[in-house]
Each structure stands twice: as C-alpha cells, then as structure tokens.
Symmetry: D4
Subunit: 243 residues, 8 copies
C-alpha cells in the first residue's frame, strides 16, 4: 500500500520540522504547542529542542494527560511538569530579570494563569501568582494591592464577565495585559464575553490577548519585564519593595 | 387618490389605538413609546391618557427633540419634561412607596438612568440617582455605599464592559437589576458586550434587562419596591437610614 | 518528577480554596459549582462546608452522574440528591420565608427548573413547581393561574421560543424572573433564541438571567421572597391563599 | 463626457427591464420592489405593467414618501395608495377566492401587516386584518378567535419576542404562516429575535418567512387560499361563518 | 439516600406526562420527540399513546440506535421503523387525503426528508419522495418536474447552499415549504447557510421551517394537503395526473 | 491655529501618497478607491496617475455622485464615467486579451457587475455582460449558455440567496468566480447570506470574493483570461465561437 | 419488523446512488466524500467508480482512520492512501498538464494542503507543495519565491490570522486561490478568522474557498492549470523554469 | 415647562462632571472623549482641565468637524488641532521620555494612527509615524525596519485583513501593540476581521486593543516607553540609533 512520497521538504523527525535555530534569530527557542500532537511526538520534539539548547529551558504547552504521562516516563527528572497548566519544561530556567504579577480572578482560571506563569519564567522574567481575587469580593483584591503594584508588568486573568482588568486598571499604573479565559456557563460564548469586556474596558491602558492564551500573554509580559529589569539593574535602582 | 379603507378595527385616534383601560387591568396606565411616532401623535395619545387618568401621572418614553418641543408647546405646565432622558410626564406623580437606587457608571449612561428614574416614580416608588461611580475609580463607589444599601432595590446602569453590577453584587445584599447601555466605542457591539458581561456576572443574584431599557428596569424595580415599602409601612418598620 | 511549587497561596484542600467565611460576609454559604470538578473533590468541599455550617444546608450544583454517585456513597443520608437537577444538599433546609413559584414550560425544562427550586429552598424561601404549562396549550396555564398569583416571586422557565414569560407578564403583577433554557432543536442556538425573546418581551416588568442558570434565578428570587415574607410576617398579614 | 455603451441588453425603460410576460408564465404579474428605485422610475414601471395588464391590478411595494407622492401626482385616481404599508396598486383587484386572516400583534407591526394584506388581495384572495392582539393581553386574542378560525390561511405578524404564532398554533388548526417584524428596541437585532423564536416555536405546523417580508407571506398565503377557495366553490361548500 | 419529593404534579409514567387527549383537541395525537429520552421511556410512551389511539398511527421522531432497537424488541410487528429517518410508527396509517411531494437535493438530506415523509403520512396525507435532484445537475430536476407538479404541496429539502427551493419556486406554482438541513462542511454553520438562503429566496411564495425540522415541515404540509385533497374529493375533481 | 507638523513622510499630494511606480512592479497601475475621499482628491489622484501612465487607462472605483460630477467637470472627455458602477476611467483601454463573461442574476446586481466589467477591461481582458438571468427563471439562463461557455473565465454575480454560481457550476466547465452582492431585504445580513451560500456551493470548482467586490473579482478574472488569451493567440487557436 | 419500502428510486448500492456517468458529462468522475459514510460503503463506492473508469484515477476525500484501514485491506496495492490528508486514490493518475503550487503556512495546515495536492493531481494537473513558509518568518517564504512563481496557479493555505495570501499577493502575479484552514486556538472561530482575513485582503486578485476545503481549491486550481498547460504545449512555449 | 430637578449630584459644568483631580491620582489628567458631546461642551471641559493643569497638555479625542471649529474659534493659538485625527491639545506637551513607533499599514489608517501619536505625546513619550507600509508591498516595510527597531514600543495599525502585526512580530523583538482599524469594505465587519486576525496572530508577543482605539493603544504604549526611557536615562545608556 503506497504512501504519497515525502515531497514536503521538512522531515527532521518524520512528523514535524523542529526549528532549532529560532533562539539564534529571535532570542527565544521554539515552543512546542502539544495540542493535536501525539504523546511520543511531544517527547521527541522536546528532546531535540533540549539538545539544541543545553543551557536553558525549553517548553511544551497544552499537554493533555497522555502527553504529560509520556513526558514523565521518558524525560524523568529533567522535566518539570505542571498538570494544571498542561506545561512541561526541560532544562534550567533562566535567571529572572524583572517581575510579572499574574493576577487570577478565580480558581477556575488557574490552568490559564499557570501556563502564563511558566511561559514568563521560561522566557527569562520572574513571575508571581496572586489568585482568587475576583471582583465579587473586592476586599481580597485590595488586600493584595501592594504585591501587585510591586511588579513591572501585571497580567490580569479572568473569565465570566472579565471585569478584573477594568478594576485593576483603576488601581495600578503598571503596564497591564488582560488575559480572558473561557471559564463560564450559560451563554458565556467560550470566552467571547470576557474578551469583549476587556476590549471595552473603561480603564485606559490595558491591552488584550486571545482567549485562554496564557502563552501569548506570558511572552508579551516577559519581553517588557526583561527590558525594564535589565535597565533597572544597569541603573542600580532597587525594584519596588515586594509585598 | 383613494386610501385603503380603515378595515383595521382600532381607530380611536386614527393612527393609534389607545388602551385607556390598562390601569384597571394591570394597576398601571399604558405608557407611550414615542420612538417612531410623529410629534403630534405623541401629544394626542398623552392627552387622551391624561384625560382617562386625571389623578395620576402618565408617561411617554423615547421622545426625541421634535416630540419634546411639541409636548412643551401643547401641554405647557402640565408636562414635566426631561430632555436628557427623553421622557414626558403628564399629571401628578403617585406618592412614593419604597425606594429604588439607580446607580450609573458614567455620565454617558445618564439618559438611560434617567428614563429608569422617571419610570420608577411614575410607577409609584421613590427613586434616587447615584451617578459617575464607574469601577475605574472604586473610591467613588465605596463612598456612596451607604446610600445604595439604604434602597429596597438597586438598578445598576453601565455600558462599555458592564462590570458595575458584578462589583455591586459583591457589596450589597439588596435585590439588584442590571441595566446595560449601548455606551461604548470600538467593537462595543451596541451594548452586547455589557449585556453579556451582566448575564455572566460572577456575583450571583443579579437579573438583567435589555440594552438601554431603562423603562423595563424601572417597571421591574418599582414592582418590588412598592411591595416591600407597603409591607414595611404596614409592619411599622422604619426604612433603612438614608445616606 | 518535580511539580511546580505551591506558590499560589490558597491550598486548603490541595485542589481548591474553600471559602468557609462567606456566610458571615454575605448571609449565605458558598455554593459548589461541580461542573469540571472531580467527584471526590465535590464530596470533600461539601464536607468542609457542612462542617463550617452545621445548622443549615449547603449546596452543590451541576453534579453529573459520577459526582452524584460519589456523594451518595460518601455522604449517605446526610445528602439530599436530585438526579434530574444535578443538585446535592447537605444539612437541614432553613425554615422558608416567603414563597417562589417556579413555572416551567415543558418537561424538558425540568432539570433547570429543579436546580432553581432547590436553590431557592437552600437560600431560605419556599418554592413550588408548576410544570408542563407551555404556551402551546394555554388552557393548562390558565388552570394554574391562582397558584402562580399566590407567590411572592414568579420564575418562568422556558426553552425553544421562550414565550412563557411574555404570556405570564400579561397575567400576573408579581415580580417576574425569566429563566431561558437551552432546550430546543434545529437552529435553537443553545438557548440564545429563548434568551433574546425574553429580553425583548412585550410585557414590561420581567428581568432575565443567563441560559440554564437556575442557580442565579433561585438566588435572585429568594432574596426578594425572603424580604417580602419577613415583612408580611412582621405586619401580621396572611400570605395570599394558596391554590 | 462619454458614458459606457448600453451593452447590457435589457433597456426597455433605460433604467430597468420590465418583465411584461410574467403573468403568462407564472399566473401573476411582476411586482415592483420600489426600495432603492427613484420615484419617477417606480411610476414608469407601474405604468408599463398596468398597460400590459389592463384587466387586473399591478403592485409596487416598499414605496417611500417621495415615491408615494410621485405616484399620487402621476397616476391619480388609478392608484390605490397605502402610506402606512408603502404599497401602490394600479388597476382593479381580482375577485377574491378564499380568505386569509392577517393577525398582527401590535400597532407597530401594521406597516408589514398591511403590505401583506394588499399583496394577498392583488394575488387574488380575500384578506382581513385582526390587529393589536399581542400576547401581553391574551383576552384580546381570545375574543377574536372565531374570526381567525374562519380563514383558510392565517398569517401571524409579530416583532419583539415573536411569540404570537406559538400561541396561535395552539389555538387553530388552519395553515399558519409566521411573519416576523423588525419592531423592537434594545438588542432586538433587527428582527432576528422574532425570526428565531418563530423558527423554534413549540407549536408544530407553522412555517416562516423573512423579517418584514409581508410581500412573501402574502404570496404564499394567497396561493393556498386561492386553491382552497376555488375547490370549496366547486364542491359547493359554504366557507366557515365569518365572525 | 432521599430524593426530592415528586412535587411536580405530572407523573403519569413517572418520567413523563403523556397527553392522551391531544387528538381530541387538535385533530392529531401527541408525537414523541425521542431525542434525550431513554429507550425504555420511548417504548413506554409509544405504548400508552397507541392504547389511546387504537385505530390510527402514533409516531416517535429522532430515535437513535438504542431507541430503535428497544422499539424493535418490544413492539415487534406493530412498529414500522425507518432507521435512516429515526422514526417509529405504531398502528395503521390513515387513508391518505391529498399528496405531498418531498423533493431532496442530495442523498445526505435523506434522513431529514424521510422524517418529513413519515410525518406527512402519519398526519393523514400521501407523500412521495423525489431524491437526488440537487441543482448542480439541473437535468435530473427537470426530468422529475411532472411528478413534482402533480402534488398539492411541495417540500424542498436541501443543505449546503440551500438553493433548491429558489429553483423550484421558479418552476412550480404549488404551495412550497423549504426545509433546510445541516448537511455541509467547511463554514456551513450547522445549516444556517441553507436557512438564510431559503429566507432570502428570490422566488416569492416559499415559506421556511427550522433546520433539519422534517417533522415541522411534515405537519405543515399535511395540513394543507388534507384540506385540498378533501375538497377536491368533495368537488369530484380528479387530482393532477401522477408522473 | 497650528496644525500638527507633517511628520508623516508621505506627502505627494498633501492628502495622499500616490504610488506611480506600481505598474512597473506588478504590471498594473494603482487603482483609486474613492469611497471616503473628497471629490477634488479623487480628481487630483487620477490626474497624477494618468500623467504617469499616458498610454493606458487608470481607474477610480466607488465614486459617489459628487466625485462623479467633479470628474466630469475637471477631466471632461478624457474620462469615461459609469454612474451605475461608480467608476471613472481616464486614458485608453488596453487591447483586450482573452474574454470574461460577467453573469448577473438581477438588475439590482448591476452596479457591482459593472464595476467588475470595467475592472476587467482596464486590466487588459475583454468583458461581456449577461444580465437578468437569475435562477427564479431558468429559461433565461439556459438561453444564454452558449455565450457564457464561450468565455475564458465566468464571474457569477448574485445577491439574495446567491445560488447562481451553484447552478452555473453544474453547467459550465470554465473557471468560475462567484461574486456575492449585498442586494436583499429582510434578514439578508448585508450579503452574508449570498457569501455563505457561495462558499458552501454543492458545485465544486468555484472560488469566491468578498461581498460587492466587483473590483477584486475583475482583477482575478483578468489575470486568468489574459494568460489564456495570450497563449491561445500564440498557439494560433481560435477562441470559442461567440454566441 | 417492517422497514419503509425503498421508494426513493436511487438504489444502486443500497445505501448510495453512484453516478458513474459524471465524467462523460463534466470531464471528471464523481468524487466520494467519505465523511459520514461507513468504511465498507466507501470501499464499495470506490470499487464501482474504479470499474467505470478503468483508465484513470478515482478519489475519496475525508476518509477517517477506519475508512483508511478498510480501503487498505480491501483495495490493496490498487489504492494510494495519504493518512494525513484522508485521501484514497484508485487507479493511475492522469498525465499532468500545467502546474499548481500549494503553499502552506505551517505544519498544522498539512492535512488540508495534501487534500488539495491530491485533488489537483487526480483532476489532471501537476502539483508541488511548498510548506512551513508562514509569515512569522518571512525569510523562509522569500527563499522559495522562484519555485512559487514557476507555477501556473498558486494555492495559499493558512489558518490562524490567514495572512499568507495577502503577503503572496504582493509578490506574485499568478492566479492565486486562498484556502483558509481551521487551525488556531483561543477565539479562532473554527477558521472564520482566516476566511474573513482572506476575503478582506489588501492584495487584489486572490479568490477564496471555504474553510478546510482542499478539495474545492484543488478542482478550481486544476481547471485553470490544465487549460494554461495545454495551451502552452500547443503554442510550444516552455513552462517557467522550475526552482 | 418644568425640568426634572438636578438631583444627580455632579453638576460642575451643568452638563458634565469634570474630574480635575485625576492627574493627582493616576499621573495623567482626564481626557475628553468628544464623540456625542456638543461643541461648546468640549470647549468648556477643555478650558476647565487646562486651568487645572497649567503646566502640561490636556487632550480631547474624537472631535468631529463642529467641535474642531469651536475649539479653533474659542481656544485660538492655545490649541493644537489635528483634523485628520480629531484631536485637540491645549497646553505644552511634556518632554518626551522613551519613544514609540506607530506603524500604519495604509493611508486610510492615518486617522487612528494620528490619534495614537498624539495620545502618546500627551502622555509623556516620544512618537514617530511610519506610514504606508502595508504587507501588500513588503519592500516598503523592510526599508523602514531600522527606524522601527529603534523604538521602545511598536504600535502596529492596520485594517482590512490586519496582518501587519503578524509580519512585524516576526521581524522585531520590541514590545508590540496591535491596533485594528475599521478600514475595509465588503464584509469587513467594522474591524472585526482585523481584530480577530490580530488576536490569532501566529507571531507570539503582540497584545491587542479595541478597533480604532488609538487612544487606548497610545496610553498603553506611553506607559511602557516612559518607564523604559526613564530607566535608560538613569542608567546612562544611549537609546538605539534612530534610522
């Protein structure tokens, strides 16, 4: 039974073309988007990327149960796995430069928030999680404001009505990235409600990423925090006190 | 040039069928929805309704500039006109029973908020406006909380991301009606964003009306407040102190 | 195989942060939204909430088959389970104050209607179900009108074209909450049709909650009914006769 | 200043191609859809159609103010004009065969209802209007049921939540055509709400036409009524008693 | 483990309320919508309906594999089953009065077309299927035109771009019901494309039912065909010759 | 009153940057999209483009009444204006190579069809219009089939249900471009219906452009026809006989 | 247990009507759309088509795992199977006339791109794949431009933001077909984003097919390439040099 | 004719409540959103804000023709007006700290791009415009890359298919804000296409603001650039060389 000839021109691993030169071009290694890939494929790509970048972490996102198990079996202690977030990290994290606060409205937003946290760390900035501070109980948010204000960048994660970035935008002057999640029920429209709310925020200054895109928010936040952190160090200015 | 014969069977005023018996059936007179009617028609219907209800106020909503002017010319001192809200009231307001707090996020929401205020008053409850307390400046909202908690029903009016009801829902235990407005720009989708946000609120207990429907929110709020106020009076319980 | 360190700060039960102080803040205990949680998690959270509130009922909603079985196994006679509604109640219901009529259009709406009934009861008001009174057979609805009018609040539950609240709104003067369901086929759009119909009702005075949100309608209805019922008792007025 | 040569091949009147042979092919003359045409064009096409069909009525729909005035000026007594519906009829109506009841929910639906009425009559059936029988006041609808049941076809016209056909479908066994209108405010979505509600009706047996398409409903209703009426006459059966 | 008490008031069969009196009220027995019901429930309701209507057929629609098998096991020869359509009929079909032509564009539309065919027959009219006459091969449609024109009502069934009713509308003068199906791929939007195309048809006179609603189209078609067929018999007019 | 300094860097004409080198890069001159530009701006850009391309035609599309008049006044005989299409052409058309048939369903589609015709001619191919051949009267389309089959490319223009390309796709083997228009009423959704229908056509082989985009269809068609026509000439093959 | 009689009139294989005469009518054999068909049905239809067309390839698309296995088992060496694309080809490919370049943005777009490649080849043109040239790394695309420009038609395949056709449209003058895929995450809307982006491209000249419709793009591309290739051969012009 | 009493509580200027204390709270003065305000209102609010902030610029956005004229008349040389952008600035701009590159795809995007430029400058950062570098002509964009890379933040402005940020994201490592505009025609959906494309970009690291929201993008960009610029100065690092 013949198969179509491999005329595609990119056959490193047979099933995928691993771009081992991306760090040289853009400063950061390629990241594996595991959704839709088979477990052994995720393991093989991670291995190849880790060989190409022995001195810094490489990342796979959106790993579901089987992929997580395959990574645990095959990569052992070399892999740092977060089951909630679906992330697998292989190799040592870079020393953090600058800090990002990832502020999540509810416990249901944690998978997305943790994908963001790990992405920030793999991309070279520090990251802290401030969780369960949704706007239905403002006292919780107000109690954590000093921690949040101490960051160089804030990522506000929320589903349902997506109002957290609007409230935060009136309380902090830090660069603010709004990360909508698909958490909700009834006619929540898979995160469209939160996305639209964030795009229409009455607090100016926030920017938005796609629904559940913790990876995208993490890359954007790390880019800003790294620059600010490096300049602060060069200027010998201490970072804001940490709550 | 012949016109089709009047075979419609409802020709009180030629152009409309005024239901002068509605108060007897439902407790409240018919209300004139002026949008799409010509100025002289609005005046004529209001006149006929006022004749049928000499002892209590009748209401027209969604009156645009020409209709407002026609009412001012024709009805004179008998009409109480609110240009911002587009409402015209003819006749004395009922004595207020119970109180509704109408809480508006921004000055752009005032036209809808005022339509709601007037509707509440015409339907027999008291109504106070708490304005310009959007969530981008929480201190303004917190400063007015005592006033808001003193009401029997709260109507929360907001456009853009529509987050005010969610924040209020975490702060008050009063029945809460969320009133989305079409205020916004960019892809605000004519109020759909605020409506969806309110339907997906993480604060349980709020109910929602249609976009810009200050009239509907007012009728619903007045029904609850009248009942509560009348029972409180019967029980000889003082209302909550007013801020 | 290392896991990310527990830097989240909310780890009561490892997988969730149970808010045992909510009743002190808002008057009602936290409710468990079971959808997306694993069966043993639902059981554990219910247990912890029941310990914190020994003298009144705590509630889990959206429990699917496995969660229901786990609750039946682990909680035994202490749990009152409604398989149709997906609710689990642990502990004694409060004495009912005020009454809510939950009026459902068809038998397919029963799961949502029953979630609403149980929520009302857990939140301290009485609740009666009037079922199978859809508008395709008006005689059934008219035959039950006295029962419906005897309530302090009416919740109208309907899917498909969602017309029940409009018809009821023309027949009763009671506060009316419209609860759309996702029941339908063809292009019913997961309840959007019923939701839009209810928001556009020609009968003023109804307010609306999100699709299938029996819980939200129940909380809103209970808040109004409790207030009215308590005042009626204080005023020593008998409730309307019950059909 | 040269204009592109008339290479289009259809230049009867310069600006339009009048199909004067349609009645021969389909049994009914072409109808002028005036929206987007200039007043003198509407007049000219009507004239040409009337010449081609001297013994029966021809119709223009969607005539706005200027087109109506131009027809009145130019066609004088030969034209029967309905300003509310935007219709102009030239020539004698056919003798009616069979009867259609056009049942409209509110006075705002009258323009669409009247377009339907006139279309039915021009297409050879009789038509009666039953108006202002929206479901917010069921007694009005029940009072007119005998009239409605006496028709061969019922057209139910409604905007807002579009529930009239569902209620009627439970009360009559006659063929039923649902005609949604764009009447509404807030997020009524230009008639989409009414259209979806009618498509999702819980009363089987109704069929639906496009929003505000009084013309389409009229043609469909007339086709059925003409057939039924002609057969009834042939069978020498009296039509149902007329209310 | 206690269950909520059966306070619902409609418990004929425990899980459903069978309306055995509907035929007396509306002329046709209740129809079982099997989707979402368990197989033994479908069997039990069908049995009860068949007992109540010993002399005419009763119908279940949307029966999936398990329900079909349960009906075959339990009802044996009394049941006529159409696996493609998902219909089960118990009892003798009425003698057909009038005829409906169900015209389907493609073989993928057959399940919906057959649901329609069986519904027509159970509701007392005759029904013929004309299949695989989609507009991509007009010669097939033209070859069957005489058959189609011989019917009293035409139902045009099509998915994808939904153009069949528009083409048929230009070829026949018979009452025409357009039945969109969810057949399609790419961005077909679950039948929305076909539905919108049919609502916007340039051929006047067609009416539309919801996506995949063969049942609704069948009821509507049977109502018209029965009336026309009965009158034709009374007038002693032969039906059009059958191709 | 100071204006912001001209720091934009593209100020050829003050209000626009005319790209006079595009023909050198892509083979065709820049085209002026007049919508949203002021009349004198359209004239000025056309003048400048015509100076840069003295030996071949330059084009402006979407010219509204004022822009057309300004062009007529300023450019005189040098401009060929099509008021229906909103196009202005300055300079001699290229000699046509290859032929495009633009087939329009109705007279309302003529503005878009003519924009397409002129675009084809300005881009160097021949173009013929076949108009008023909508599918509601198939005989008209069948009568013109020989003309249509004689073209190298067919553009099928239709609004409303957009079925013309599906019918044509079953009748011709020529490359086929489907051009949806926003013609329609009721819930036609500004051409979305026609666009979706064309994307979901059951006749394979058609490709689609955006709603009302006669310009885009014209460029695509001309590219194909020019290539085919030039090769046919080189091969000394006669084009298909012209109807 | 009786089954409805086979009154459908098209029963070649019992479950499907194979059109073995299509190649005679349209130049190409019928293609099997396997999605929704059972594995043995796909095999049987392919067999019958192959018998009718012994001298050229026949094609099945959208074959899922089970269908692929069934074809491998039953058809053996006669079938050429592409698991990634879900295509099965039986019989010898026609000699290629003209060439199509299928340019895919990412590895996730390969299944759709390969369906297109195989469709082109089965329909008689040559096809080359240029893959992994998404716009996030322009150097990859620029490096392959000569290959792309050497084709007679270009098909640009992309998901996510769908920008590849716009970039290509500015770089090549070849006829360009844009093929959007459903690849994406977050609010990608199942390919709607890519489809809309391609319809709104600022590079004129591209046409678009439905989401994931590699088959449709392939048929359209092959029709153009065959014509161009045949004429080039007739004119004895060498094709452009192949990169 | 009585007007409702001024019970709103915020009547500084009668028609609006000017928040003159915002700069003290958030670092930047309130900005006037002129859309929907009357010309004299815009002038009065600007005056009041300028009085409160004599030493730095205050801003009005979305000023239409009449408001621009009123500002020119009343504020004279004190106002810097940009008619294209609809902005009015009163008072001296702050000394710029850090630099923002605003990169616009086409001349039609200039109004939005200029609103962004002015907002950046009023909020204390430097801003340069790089215009007319849309992706249909990549050479223009590549020629300006050094200028773009020299900025601390890049804002990419594009309508239609919104692909510019994706292309830029593969070329620069700077923080990148994507600003979609409503520029487009056909089914561009008022900027939704560009917004969705930007949210689904295959180039990680970009964040997005609402359609046409040059103001929001400007505030976000200025916040980042000010921080980076100030730290760079403190560290005595020269900014990147300016192209």
């Amino acid at each position: 039974m013949p198969i179509l000839p491999p005329d595609t021109g990119f056959a490193d691993l047979g099933f995928a073309c691993v771009d081992t030169a991306r760090a040289a071009r853009t400063g950061d290694p390629e990241v594996v988007f595991a959704q839709g890939k088979r477990p052994h494929e995720v393991v093989a790509i991670l291995r190849r990327l880790a060989e190409a970048h022995p001195d810094r972490a490489v990342l796979a996102t959106r790993c579901q149960e089987e992929a997580v198990l395959a990574c645990a079996d095959s990569l052992g202690d070399r892999a740092t796995i977060d089951r909630v977030a679906g992330t697998v990290v292989v190799g040592p994290l870079p020393a953090p430069v600058g800090r990002v606060a990832v502020v999540a409205a509810g416990t249901s937003d944690l998978d997305v928030a943790r994908e963001c946290l790990t992405t920030v760390r793999v991309h070279g900035a520090g990251a802290d999680l401030v969780s369960d501070v949704g706007i239905a109980g403002l006292h919780r948010l107000l109690a954590r404001l000093d921690d949040i204000r101490a960051a160089d960048v804030v990522v506000a994660v929320a589903g349902m009505e997506g109002a957290l970035p609007s409230v935060l935008g009136g309380l902090v002057a830090t660069p603010l990235i709004a990360l909508p999640t698909s958490v909700g029920y009834g006619l929540s429209m898979d995160g469209l409600t939160a996305l639209l709310a964030m795009l229409n925020s009455c607090s100016p200054g926030a920017t938005v990423v796609n629904v559940d895109n913790g990876y995208g928010a993490g890359v954007a936040a790390a880019r800003i925090a790294r620059t600010v952190g490096a300049l602060r160090a060069a200027a010998q200015i201490a970072p804001p006190a940490h709550g």
